[in-house]
Amino acid sequence: MNAKTILVGVWLGLALAGAAVAQGFADLGATVEGFALPDRDRVLEFPEDHAAHPDFRIEWWYLTANLTGDDGAEYGVQWTLFRSATAPGETEGWQSPQAWMGHAAVTTADAHHVAERLARGGVGQAGVTLNSGAAFRAWIDDWEMLSDTAPGEDALDRLALTARGDDFGYALDLTAEGPLVLQGDGGYSVKSADGQASHYYSQPFYAVSGTLDLPGGPVAVTGHAWLDREWSSQPLAEDQTGWDWFSLSFEGGEKLMGFDLRDGGEGFTSGTWIAADGTPSRLVPGALQADPLEYATVAGREVPVVWRLRLDDRAFDVTLRAVNPGAWMATLVPYWEGPVRVTGSHTGRGYLEMTGY
């Protein structure tokens, strides 16, 4: 999933824990005492694992959507809730070690609207709950991801999603048209050659309809969305400095999740090829080749906004092009996140996330 997201989540944790952010990404590899660690043998259980795992250091509910408006224009939507803990476990009240961070964005070809929310755990300002009726709710302030699920369905099968910033807002209805997908080895996703890992699953099959509130007025939209769920305590190796993450949906119904964790040398790439019916195939580390083709200057940094992705054994060779190269998330921990168009051996749409630039 989003390497960058990991960074963001950990970074917030570091900021809250008082570690020097200036020391950079190296700290993300540091072990923090007392937290639970991902376990390869653990079998994920639903709906329980949709809820928060406060014994792990970081966690997120990360949704991206590629949408088309009734005006024919292309839109990208992001809704993310990060959890970050300074100590394992949850307590009631302000003493809670948990902190929450929400990011919301709407990207058009020429604009990128961003909003951010922060909250302490323990007081009800933000959280993720799963009640006995399997009703799922993730929220921070008035942003919400709320399940509207019929009996027998997964808690995440139908979601109502809202968020708003100063100059934008959205309300979307999501319906899953495929199964949950376990990433990596049955939901255990390795992130480095040294074995750093996370628990990771996705729901990449959402059909979306709803409304975007933009400065120019409301826009009715339809399209597809992809939800990532991931939690860990020690997600990066010490020498990893950032990453590029891709979630792509192709016209044939197949999907690709891939990431490239950058370090001083070769880097570490991995991912999952998802068949149209949701069957995942784990990519061997190094099988995915990701090469930047063109850079754009965004927020004073050189960021690759055109990529070539290849999977030689699948005759897969595509070019990703950012819908809006200026999709910079000027948040507390800044990063690039935006919709892309895919052309080449496969065509489609997807999301690109880049950290550490």
Binding site: L16, G18, T86, G93, Q95, L118, G124, D141, D142
Partner: protein, 798 residues
């Protein structure tokens, strides 16, 4: 020509260094006292501003609950409804104002410089409740380290004194207020989702001027003193400059005759004066800094004691009062020299010098002055009758003082004339003595007015402080009726103590209290036992019948005079209290306490505040057993030294606080009197030089120089004593206005006025001494004057 003229002008000072010293000293003193007072005021006001603007109080609207009870759950509800609010928990503990904030939602405008923000290294420590922010010097205050034990206090210079800024989690723990929220700060940068839910109300941001308003009277008092000192200092300057103009008349005439234009001469004199003003002004500002630095700790104690206002005891250099001080020096110099400058400007080149013209002119205006003075006195009476509020009080004071000062010369002239008429029978010398005194009056009247003001201020303030002290000690005797006061560390220890004590003493009276808001202001509620100690001794100003029974049954409350006056609550009025309102059954005096206070029955207190532990006890026992019992208690229970306090200890402490409170007033009083004496000296030195033509004939008729000098000395002392006679009623009037008008407005309590005739004797002594000291040096000079000087009067062209 300019250079030569300037050299000629300045040569005068070279030949009269004492005059120059007097001029500079007067100006520096005037500027010094004035800017010292301004520096103190500036420091205090800066502290109030910090207190009022901390956390953007003056910029950020806030949401409060109409019933006063906000909770964390309510905060979460509002956030989920899209309200951009951040919780604030505020309370007091151990005399500290604790502010709890939530850094993740805190609006940027509320950030305190030095507070860890998102992304900073210290934020984790702050959120974990280990790191708290405190004003630098607050850390050194007694009790603060204990109150913050286990925390890491970090200095934040932008915080007001005695304020602790902490994460809301830490504040909850410090205040024992889990789940409570005082107010919600609204982020001004974000839109609001709609109308407020019911039960909440929005308070628009206003700088809370409460402290500034409360302390206004005190600062006005200081300013008035500063101005008085300045005015008195300017008398000195006026005398010195007058003398210099007088003595340089021939030189001006010569320079004009040599062709120096009037405009050039006037400009040069002006430049010379401005130069002096700046030099003396700089000295004065330095002096002011010294005065302020010396007085500030006492002022801080006063403000803390009277109003609960936290002011740092350390002075900061501020451009504001430095510039203001220099400006006052220049303005004062120009005012004092205006008359002389005008004459230089207008002086015809060949006019003959008219000796003492400047002094005689003052005499001509005496009648007008007296009329103005009577007008001012009438106005003061009017303000007393029809005005209201603090400003009216000060208008009365100003009218009274200025009016009396203006009337003084006319009054003195009448008295001297009457005395002269009666002296006619006693011989020619006596007659000359009085006539000469009248003749001197115009030249001395300014200095005598200064003396009058200084003396009256002394009597007034002395009477006020004395009345206050007498009432205060009497009140302490009443209020501290119990012989011994105990504080236990834990409820268990308290229970053991009580059990052990009950058979051994006459009574064990539990004392419980909690800090809370009383009608919007931080105050205290006490619970007291139903016991004769209170019935017999508690200083009730007014009460309904059966008051103690009603309080004991939990059906009524007592309130202090401050709360009664500020909120306009009389007997029978209903007082809002946590846990339900109660009627007011009595009002008691509570001197020296800045905050509102209420007393309810012990049982009612326990019901309303079940979380408050009974840890303090007052013990009644025969006075002779106090020491023995204290010794046993310390030995048996291992109580700390501070856990047992006897009545005498508390009284001594209270009186010490009281004395510190009025130390500043005393210091300024003495300084003003000293300046007044210096003004007399300056005036007399000026006069003595020009009085030779009057003295020489008397000397020629056979009176010795020593006799003349003695008469001069006696005359000055006599004038000073006459001034003291006039100052006495003026001072008593001043005291009455201070006690009955200003104090009630300023402090919220009224004190009965008491007279201290013993102090009046001291007043006469001080006046005589001031006059005598001022006259001594001119008298000695006269005595030592060579006879040739006196003879020359007859030969001189003048």
């Amino acid at each position: 020509m300019i250079r030569a003229s300037l050299a000629a002008l300045l040569s005068h000072w070279w030949r009269h260094p004492l005059q120059l010293a007097m001029l500079l000293a007067g100006l520096a003193l005037a500027t010094g006292l004035w800017s010292g007072v301004q520096a103190i005021n500036a420091e205090a006001r800066a502290a109030y501003t910090r207190a009022e603007t901390v956390l953007g109080q003056d910029q950020l609207d806030r949401i409060v609950a109409t019933d006063g009870r906000l909770t964390v759950a309510r905060f979460a509800e509002l956030r989920q409804a899209g309200w951009p609010v951040s919780p604030l928990l505020e309370g007091r503990r151990a005399g500290l104002r604790i502010l709890g904030v939530e850094p993740l939602t805190l609006p940027r405008a509320a950030a305190v410089p030095g507070m860890p923000m998102l992304g900073s290294d210290d934020l984790g420590e702050f959120l974990a409740g280990r790191l708290v922010l405190v004003a630098p010097e607050t850390l050194d205050r007694p009790g603060v380290a204990e109150a913050l034990a286990g925390l890491k206090p970090q200095a934040a210079p932008d915080l007001p004194p005695m304020t602790v800024l902490a994460d809301i989690a830490a504040a909850e723990t410090l205040l024992g207020a889990r789940g409570e929220v005082t107010a919600l700060l609204i982020d001004p940068g974000r839109p609001l989702p709609g109308p407020l839910p019911s039960g909440l109300e929005r308070r628009v941001a206003v700088a809370d001027q409460g402290l500034a308003r409360l302390t206004d009277s005190f600062h006005l008092n200081l300013t008035a003193f500063g101005f008085l000192a300045f005015a008195v200092g300017i008398f000195i300057v006026h005398a010195a400059i007058g003398l210099a103009f007088e003595q340089r008349r021939p030189m001006f005439r010569t320079l004009r005759a040599l062709g120096v234009p009037a405009r050039t001469l006037g400009g040069l004199v002006l430049a010379e004066l401005l130069g002096f003003a700046l030099i003396a002004g700089l000295f004065g500002v330095g002096l002011g800094y010294g005065v302020a630095a010396a007085l500030l700790p006492d002022v801080a104690a006063t403000l803390g004691g009277l109003y609960g206002a936290a002011v740092p005891g350390v002075l900061e250099l501020r451009a504001g009062w430095i510039v203001a001080g220099l400006g006052m020096a220049v303005a004062g110099t120009l005012a004092a020299a205006g008359q002389g400058l005008w004459q230089v400007w207008r002086l015809p080149p060949l006019a003959s010098a008219t000796p003492r013209a400047w002094a005689v002119a003052a005499g001509a205006t005496r009648r007008l002055q007296a009329l103005c003075g009577l007008g001012l006195l009438t106005l003061a009476g009017g303000a007393l009758g029809f005005g209201s509020g603090l400003w009216a009080g000060f208008a009365v004071l100003a009218g009274l003082l200025l009016g009396a000062a203006l009337v003084l010369p006319g009054l003195m002239a009448l008295v001297l004339a009457a005395a002269g008429a009666r002296a006619r029978a006693r011989g020619v010398l006596s007659q000359w003595f009085w006539a000469d005194a009248r003749q001197q009056l115009p030249g001395l009247s300014l200095a005598l007015m200064a003396l009058l003001l200084a003396l009256a201020a002394n009597v007034g303030v002395g009477t006020m402080v004395g009345s206050f002290r007498a009432t205060f000690t009497g009140w302490l005797d009443q209020r501290l009726a119990s012989e011994l006061y105990l504080t236990a560390e834990t409820p268990a220890e308290a229970a053991r103590l009580r059990e052990w004590l009950e058979p051994r003493v006459l009574a064990v009276l539990p004392i419980v209290s909690t800090e809370t808001n009383l009608l919007g202001q931080p105050g205290d509620i006490y619970g007291i036992a139903d016991h004769a100690t209170y019935r017999d001794h508690w200083p009730l100003l007014s009460a309904l019948p059966e008051v103690w029974e009603a309080v004991a049954r939990g059906e009524a409350a007592l309130i202090n005079e401050q709360l009664s006056r500020r909120a306009g609550l009389g007997l029978g009025a209903v007082l809002d209290l946590p846990g339900g309102a109660l009627p007011v059954a009595g009002v008691y005096s509570d001197y020296g306490n800045p905050s509102p206070q209420a007393i309810i029955g012990l049982e009612a207190f326990g019901t309303r505040f079940p979380e408050v532990q009974v840890l303090r006890f007052a013990l009644r026992l025969p006075a002779t057993e106090v020491e023995a019992l204290a010794t046993i208690l310390r030995a048996e229970f291992g109580l700390r030294e501070t856990a047992i306090v006897d009545q005498a200890g508390i009284k001594a402490f209270s009186l010490r606080v009281f004395e510190r409170t009025f130390a500043v007033t005393g210091a300024l009083n003495t300084l003003t009197l000293a300046v007044a004496a210096l003004a007399m000296l300056a005036s007399l030195v000026t006069l003595s030089a020009s009085r030779l033509p009057q003295l020489a004939p008397v000397w020629a008729m056979g009176l010795t120089q020593a006799g003349l000098a003695g008469l001069d000395l006696a005359r000055t002392v006599m004038l000073a004593l006459l001034t003291a006679v006039a100052a006495l009623p003026l001072g008593l009037a001043l005291a009455w206005v201070l006690l009955a008008v200003v104090n009630v407005e300023a402090f919220g309590w009224r004190l009965p006025m008491q007279a201290f005739p013993g102090d009046w004797l001291w007043l006469f002594a001080a006046a005589g001494l001031a006059g005598g000291l001022a006259a001594l040096w001119p008298a000695v000079t006269l005595m030592r004057r060579r006879p040739a000087d006196l003879l020359r009067v007859f030969a001189n062209e003048r």
